[in-house]
């Protein structure tokens, strides 16, 4: 067991003013992005920009006030980063809406408005989580409730009436005209469940075992949980045909297991299981096989490699500085507004913009892991690590797929892709991270004098 990272001598500043300034900067970036889209695609600044600016400022002030009062010590960098990414995402979705309008006329589907709506709901959820979860340690009491919820959420899309298959993956449910991806929420529930479960079990998982080639390997009987997680992930892959989520869930579990037990052996076991599962999937399932084939040899362009190659063409077309917002052809790539939104940005903002976006994602992960380091309780540490690493894995899987580093899998680009579930779930993740960081950066309660009083000590050693 490790000791808490922070010495009580460190008193963290609240830094709410810095956060406000950074949020203002993020809003300026977003509003400029909308202006650039209008100028690039239509030759004029969109008429709604002034109204949008007012709306954004109102929302930003409200969010700022909520954070200031309910989580005053929370990390000041996360919210501005997320606001910038979310806003840029909406700007790109709007830009692709305009392109669709040009080609299809009035019956063209429009997504930007709905994405704004989802963002608003996401912010409401963000505030709600901050208000309801006043202390993240309380979540530990519901460990198995969250575990069960995660399982239900994963099974939901497979149910006959509400479950729907869209573009080959059965990961959607349809409720009253709305499509939701329960998997996005399952990710959070699983992180909470794993954290709560591992905090309790980690001694057993960590201490027993045997040493082989300098690495402590777990006992056979302790392999149960990791095998269960592996099977669930395979289940997601087989029944939902969702490669990305499967990889994400399993990676999340293995990492949290490693962090909880501090035993690299789990990483080795996890990697072996992953390699086994991936090989099995790549040789057995045609939909995985075709993804791997497209990844290995995307040219010449065929139906199976069309999306990937169009994305690559787009990024190459963007070059170093990009075509400029509204001036490239990202709409040539299928799903440019969701799965391939990163390629759309790379095309219009160039290598410079793409690297900036990646660095913003990197910073979010870095802040998440920093929160984990600062956190004083094991549950919070595990949860923050889990959330941060799952975020990193998700960005890697989706951007790595688009950039042909790994085979393409269907995952959303956090905060940028069109899609309600993803926006909601990711805002909830940020709320949880803020909550944990507020708890860890807050000065310890003034209870010291009591502890020093020998007479109150019940057990004398």
């Amino acid at each position: 067991m490790s000791t808490p990272a922070t010495s009580p001598a460190v008193v963290h500043r609240k830094r709410r003013g810095a956060e406000a300034l950074l949020v203002a900067l993020a809003l300026v970036i977003v509003i400029f992005a909308f202006c650039a889209v209008g100028l690039g695609a239509r030759g004029k600044v969109p008429g709604f920009v002034a109204g949008l600016a007012v709306l954004l400022v109102v929302i930003a002030v409200a969010t700022h006030l909520v954070v200031r009062f309910v989580a005053p010590y929370a990390d000041p960098v996360l919210v501005p980063l997320v606001v910038a990414l979310n806003g840029l995402g909406v700007a790109m979705i709007y830009r692709l809406d305009l392109a669709r309008l040009d080609r299809l006329g009035d019956e063209a589907k429009q997504f930007a408005g709905r994405q704004v709506m989802w963002t608003a709901i996401g912010l409401a959820l963000f505030v709600a989580v901050l208000l309801i979860v006043r202390d993240h340690r309380k979540l530990q009491a519901y460990t198995y409730t969250f575990g069960l919820t995660a399982l239900v959420l994963l099974i939901l899309p497979l149910l006959p009436v509400i479950g729907t298959q869209i573009n080959g993956a059965r990961i959607w449910i349809r409720v009253g005209g709305l499509s939701l991806q329960p998997g996005e929420f399952a990710k959070i529930c699983l992180a909470i469940f794993f954290a709560g479960y591992l905090v309790v079990k980690r001694d057993a998982l960590a201490l027993a075992g045997r040493r082989f080639m300098g690495i402590d390997f777990p006992r056979g009987r302790d392999l149960g949980p990791i095998l269960a997680a592996w099977l669930v992930s395979l289940g997601v892959l087989i029944f939902q045909r969702d490669l990305g989520s499967s990889l994400l869930f399993f990676g999340l579990f293995v990492v949290m297991l490693y962090v909880a037990t501090e035993r690299p052996g789990w990483l080795v076991v996890g990697t072996l299981l992953f390699v086994g599962g991936a090989t099995f999937a790549a040789t057995t399932f045609s939909h995985v096989q075709s993804r791997v084939d497209a990844w290995l040899s995307p040219f010449p362009v065929t139906e199976g490699t069309f999306q990937l190659t169009q994305g690559l063409f787009g990024m190459a077309w963007g070059g170093l500085l990009g075509r400029g917002l509204g001036e490239g052809n990202p709409f040539l790539t299928p799903f440019a507004y969701s799965d391939f939104i990163f390629a759309s940005f790379a095309e219009e903002l160039g290598l410079a913009g793409a690297m900036a976006i990646l660095l913003m994602y990197g910073l979010i992960v870095e802040r998440g892991l920093r929160i984990a380091l600062l956190c004083r309780d094991a549950f919070g540490k595990l949860l923050a690590t889990g959330l941060a690493v799952s975020f990193a894995l998700q960005v890697f899987v989706v951007v790595g797929g688009v950039t042909r580093i790994i085979p393409l899998t269907g995952l959303t680009t956090p905060f940028m892709s069109y899609g309600g579930s993803s926006i909601l779930a990711n805002w909830a993740i940020v709320a949880l991270l803020l909550r944990i960081s507020d708890q860890s950066r807050r000065p310890p309660p003034e209870a010291a004098p009591l502890e020093m009083d020998d007479s109150t000590q019940v057990v004398k050693l």
Binding site: S2, Y258, V259, T309, M315, L351
Partner: protein
């Protein structure tokens, strides 16, 4: 737990470094390769929306981009589409490019490195980048004469006519029939383009084939100039040397086979001069000479004239051949037949024009070219073509003798249909069979004026009204060659 968290930080860092390397590779290192890939619509769109430079004959465009009011802003137009289709090629949104549109694309689209300064200036002035212009070597009148001659043929006729300047290799005329209208493929009505494309490709007459450079056909008796050259070079013959004549050739290894003359006639005696043999296009003589020269030397002479090599790079072209497989040994009848341009001998009209040109040009074979000048959008000359000698195909003496023999063919022999009064014209007819169910190919190669050659022409016509004798072939193809020559020398 902090140690594994730090380890995970490093793992996450590596993941992000991998992503950063990935985007750098795609957007910087590999970008040019990806941009050049087939089916990259962004590049096609951009080139379509650019003011593409014109292709010019003299100062008149044969391909130009004109502003239109649609998403691409410019429409590629070919003012005399069919007349120049073999030269310009097409520029299609769906089907890419061909001809000069393809080979000169970097200049026409403006992406050539030599236009870098212009691009920077355009960027600073926020002007749309424009493409440079390409001037071609074509002689307007000769091109028209060739096309009109081919158009005047009977209905089902297919054919090609190509003319070069023997002393430089500049292509003066290049056209064929049937051909196609590149405007149809450059249209922005993409459905119509697809229909036209399918129709053109389904047409068994292959209208999109460049018959002057891509289609190889048995050259028949026109190949006798190559055989004559080989004999003069290798057997030290002169125009007045006595050679074997008669009405039929048989030799050891022929068995019952006999090589006979067209129409079964006699060449004018058992022993005739080489000049006489060429005048009457005597099969017996040249079959015999081919065997005396031998396969290796015949092959070498054909190769010296350019056989076996793609004749021109700026438009699609195919090499001509003396035999189907250079390593296989021909038996005597095959070698004899090869000497009169039959068996597996197969040549493009451009190749035959090159050989004729080399004979007229004192033996020097010049590399054919189509582009005379390349200019930047602000009309600065970027490149001017320099004539390039490939090699001396034959010695000056052989060339002079052979040239005089070809003048005699026009003056006294089968080539009279190409005669121009007051000008010394050299020529040679040919009629070649492929299969008995297909009409024969009528060939004519010629050059003029003999004392100072300005033009060498090759014409091939495939028509059901072609008779199966040489004179009839000369009658169809000869006048076309004559009018092309007249156009060039100004008669």
């Amino acid at each position: 737990m902090n140690r594994p968290i730090r380890v995970m930080s490093i793992v996450c860092l590596m993941l992000f470094v991998a992503l950063l390397l990935g985007v750098n590779y795609i957007q910087f290192v590999d970008a040019d390769t990806l941009n050049a890939k087939n089916g990259n619509r962004r590049v096609i769109d951009e080139q379509f929306a650019r003011e593409r430079g014109p292709i010019l004959v003299g100062d008149r465009p044969i391909a130009e981009s004109v502003p239109v009011d649609d998403v691409w802003k410019f429409q590629r137009r070919y003012p005399e589409g069919k007349l120049y289709s073999d030269i310009t090629g097409y520029f299609s949104y769906t089907y890419g490019r061909s001809g000069l549109e393809q080979s000169q694309n970097s200049i026409l689209s403006g992406s050539d490195n030599r236009l870098f300064v212009n691009r920077v200036v355009d960027l600073i002035g926020s002007n749309q980048p424009r493409g440079g212009s390409v001037s071609v070597t074509i002689n307007r009148k000769a091109q028209r004469a060739a096309a009109e001659g081919l158009d005047g043929l009977p209905g089902d006729a297919k054919g090609a006519a190509v003319a070069i300047d023997p002393s430089t290799g500049a292509v003066l005329a290049m056209t064929g029939t049937p051909t196609y209208n590149p405007n149809v493929l450059a249209s922005h009505d993409l459905d119509a383009v697809t229909k036209a494309w399918d129709r053109l490709n389904a047409d068994e007459d292959q209208p999109m084939l460049n018959r002057s450079t891509q289609q190889t056909l048995p050259p028949g008796s026109t190949f006798k100039i190559v055989t004559a050259a080989a004999a003069m070079e290798n057997l030290d013959l002169t125009p007045s040397s006595k050679v074997k004549g008669g009405s039929a050739l048989s030799a050891p290894g022929f068995g019952s086979y006999q090589l006979v003359n067209q129409g079964g006639g006699n060449c004018g005696g058992k022993n005739i001069t080489l000049t006489q043999a060429l005048e009457v296009s005597c099969n017996v003589t040249f079959g015999d000479l081919s065997m005396k020269v031998g396969q290796a030397a015949m092959q070498a002479q054909a190769d010296a004239f350019g056989f076996g090599t793609r004749p021109i790079e700026q438009v699609a072209s195919n090499p001509s051949q003396f035999t189907g497989d250079p390593d296989a040994e021909l038996d005597p009848p095959q070698l004899a037949q090869s000497g009169i341009g039959q068996f597996e001998v197969s040549a493009t009209p451009l190749q035959m024009a090159m050989a004729t040109g080399a004979i007229a040009n004192g033996g020097a074979l010049m590399k054919p070219y189509l582009v005379s000048t390349v200019r930047s959008p602000d009309l600065k000359t970027i490149e001017t073509a320099k004539p390039e000698k490939i090699r001396d195909a034959i010695s000056g003496g052989t060339a002079a003798g052979l040239s005089q023999m070809m003048v005699d063919v026009v003056d006294n022999g089968t080539g009279s249909s190409a005669a121009i009064s007051g000008v010394e014209v050299g020529g040679k007819t040919g009629t070649a069979q492929s299969t008995s169910d297909r009409p024969p190919y009528a060939w004519f190669v010629s050059f003029a004026p003999a004392d100072d050659p300005k033009v060498a022409v090759a014409v091939v016509v495939e028509s059901s009204s072609t008779g199966r004798d040489d004179i009839s072939g000369g009658r169809l193809a000869g006048p076309i060659a004559r009018s092309v020559m007249e156009a060039v020398i100004g008669r």
